[in-house]
Symmetry: C3
Subunit: 259 residues, 3 copies
């Protein structure tokens, strides 16, 4: 299986590691974890971290954590048991992801980010550093979330009535924006840095300020260096994306949508 | 004493662990630490972390750290020597708490939170993820603090004249709000998400915006799902609270306030 | 060489440690690292962390990391290979500093701070907790950056056209302020807590609000406790500074600027 282990790694019984997995020193992999082939895990990580039931009772059923192939999980990251993560997953350092998180393929979660569990992240989602995803959040495919963004869920805290934020495909939430509970951020919308979003955001809208106001349409925004249109970004940006080798339209036309 | 130790734990001389304590792998407990019975400590924690005197001089007097019974301290958390923490303490992951922090009973401090020391946290305080508590802060009982809140202390930085923020009982500081130095946030006040609080906040006030303005009274706020009043929250919410099995009024009336 | 190692430290070949270095338990120092004399490194640190080339290929050239004498690096800190850090460097806990970061002398980087690499930090810079320094940032000497500040770099994300923020000497960015890409923050400027800076800031300007507006001149700001002027702060504050034993003017006049 060609697995490489660093010093002092701790592997519990029943862990399944794919071929060519590399675990750096001091990393702990608990029972119930399946890690796909060709994955790299940095030092001091915990895969399959205990949920509350084990912390309270010192015993619990095994809750599986599955991570797809080609993962790159950086040091000091804690991934709870009870989640499912696709292929090509990447994290920065000191990331925490709680149980009942469903993550698609080719997702990147930056340093210090904190995913609170009971939430769903699509494919090709890119989260920068220090993003907080509250429980019940839904992040669709091809969404970009920048540092210090928080998706909230309790409209009148403290309460028992949580509602999750829903970021639609291709939307972008810029640095430090806060999204109030239960709001829909429309496809291709752009939430400006520092915006406090208190109302649903229509597709293609640019939302700015405290409280957030729709001030523009993304299709009017120009790249400050080149003067060219920037959005919809799928037509102008391809790094990390499945159309990296051609362009969005050709990739999209080539999808077998009926199959 | 029925203490369970994970792999590679490091216990220094004179550490006192109560019955049924569980320390997960790689955790370090330094001299001067007393940890109460039935406590669970995750992996990679440091209890009794060195203060500056040891870092500089490589020797220092022992500064005690006492933590009460039934603690649940999650992985990668660093608790400095020289603090006192009550019973039923809970932390998320990657928490840092510096010296001269006094924490009451049944307090919860979320993942990534950063308590800077020289401060006082009451009983039944609930801090979510990524809260920053500046030195000289006072947080009274039954306060809720949400993610990315910062309590500041230097009015005109850099200076030598720090003044601490004081959050009164039952107040709520919502996500991403920043409180300027020395301000009093009154009992039952609600600081809205993203508010920049630049003036004292009266009891029951709702403060919104940049800069923060009093816009409402909490007693007028309705639960968005049920349409019911939400505040004062002690009459409508009981999870984690000492009135969890009855209601606030019955609990309050039953207190032996003279004794 | 009088080096002290804690339990389970991992030192790779070719690491160079100066005299009197102290490495606390579980710390990893990878090949290519040079750490100056009299340095203290807390537990669970990683010095010389792998860049992407090693994570992908499991082999890579050695990228040197040099850290000057008298460093104080606190626990759980991750410093990548490929950077250069001066003397008297201090970090809090859980700090992450990526490759191609150039840091001067007597710099302090607080708990949880995240320096993204490809950036330049001068001498006597003081960053508090949870500061995010985006790639291409330039921070000049004697700058103060407070918690939850973010220096951004992509004006219309996602794009390939990053531009770095430039904080000029003696400027101060208060808690939670966000600086938009490519902006110059002038010498001695003060960015108020929570400001969203969208335009260049002139020297000595006070910028407040969302969006940021110039509202005042720092030389008009008074210390709230003493009533005295506060700024330019170099004339009123000396802790940590090279004029700590006298005053700024005497120190400045004594510099050999031709030599
Ligand atoms: C973390 C990293 O490394 S990079 C992270 C990714 N990048 C970011 O988060 C920054 C993304 N950029 C933004 O959010 C920008 O605010 C945008 C793109 C939404 C708007 O920027 P632009 O269209 O360039 O606006 P422009 O600079 O022309 O300003 C137009 C007006 O809007 C205001 N404005 C611009 N941005 C904002 C903002 N975020 N909040 C409030 N007001 C704003 C300006 O002040 C100006 O108004 P004024 O003349 O009355 O002062
Ligand atoms: C992290 C987690 O997982 S959950 C964290 C806990 N939850 C939170 O932090 C969110 C708590 N909610 C808040 O802070 C809300 O702002 C509240 C409760 C203070 C106010 O919300 P509501 O009373 O529902 O206000 P409502 O939505 O009816 O809006 C009334 C007006 O105030 C504005 N407004 C509402 N909230 C805010 C805010 N936080 N900042 C600025 N303006 C606001 C609205 O835009 C609206 O004004 P407009 O019509 O001119 O645009
Ligand atoms: C993390 C730690 O432990 S400490 C971190 C370091 N300290 C900080 O970050 C706080 C630094 N202080 C600030 O940023 C302050 O906003 C300052 C110094 C720029 C301005 O404060 P002051 O000059 O004292 O302003 P003052 O309190 O007199 O208020 C004047 C007006 O500006 C407003 N104001 C003050 N600060 C701000 C702010 N940060 N944002 C928006 N408005 C503000 C006030 O509301 C008031 O307007 P109003 O009467 O219409 O409401």
């Amino acid at each position: 299986e060609n697995v490489t282990l660093g010093h002092h790694c701790i592997l519990e019984d029943g862990v399944v590691l794919g071929d060519n997995v590399y675990l750096d020193s001091n990393t702990i992999v608990r029972r119930g974890v399946t890690l796909g082939a060709d994955s790299f895990v940095g030092a001091n990580c915990i895969l399959g971290e205990y949920q509350m039931d084990f912390c309270r009772d010192r015993s619990a059923p095994v809750h599986p954590l599955t991570i797809g192939a080609h993962a790159l999980i950086r040091s000091n990251t804690v991934l709870y048991s009870g989640s499912s993560i696709g292929e090509g997953f990447q994290t920065g350092h000191h990331v925490t992801i709680r149980e009942k998180t469903w993550i698609g393929d080719h997702v990147s979660v930056g340093t210090l980010s904190d995913i609170q569990g009971n939430c769903r992240i699509g494919n090709y989602v890119r989260m920068h550093s220090n993003v907080h995803i509250g429980q019940l959040s839904r992040v669709d495919d091809f969404v970009w979330i920048f540092p210090y963004v928080v998706l909230t869920n309790d409209p009148t805290p403290p309460s028992e009535n949580f509602v999750g934020v829903h970021l639609h495909s291709f939307s972008i939430v810029a640095t430090g924006a806060l999204v109030m509970p239960g709001l829909e951020i429309g496809q291709d919308a752009l939430v400006a840095a520092g915006a406090i979003v208190t109302k649903p955001v229509p597709p293609y809208a640019v939302v700015v300020g405290n409280p957030g106001r729709v001030t523009s349409d993304v299709r009017k925004v120009k790249n400050k260096i080149t003067g060219e249109p920037v959005y919809p970004w799928r037509h102008h940006f391809k790094t990390y994306m499945p159309w990296e080798d051609s362009d969005f339209q050709r990739w999209y036309d080539g999808l077998d949508l009926a199959g």
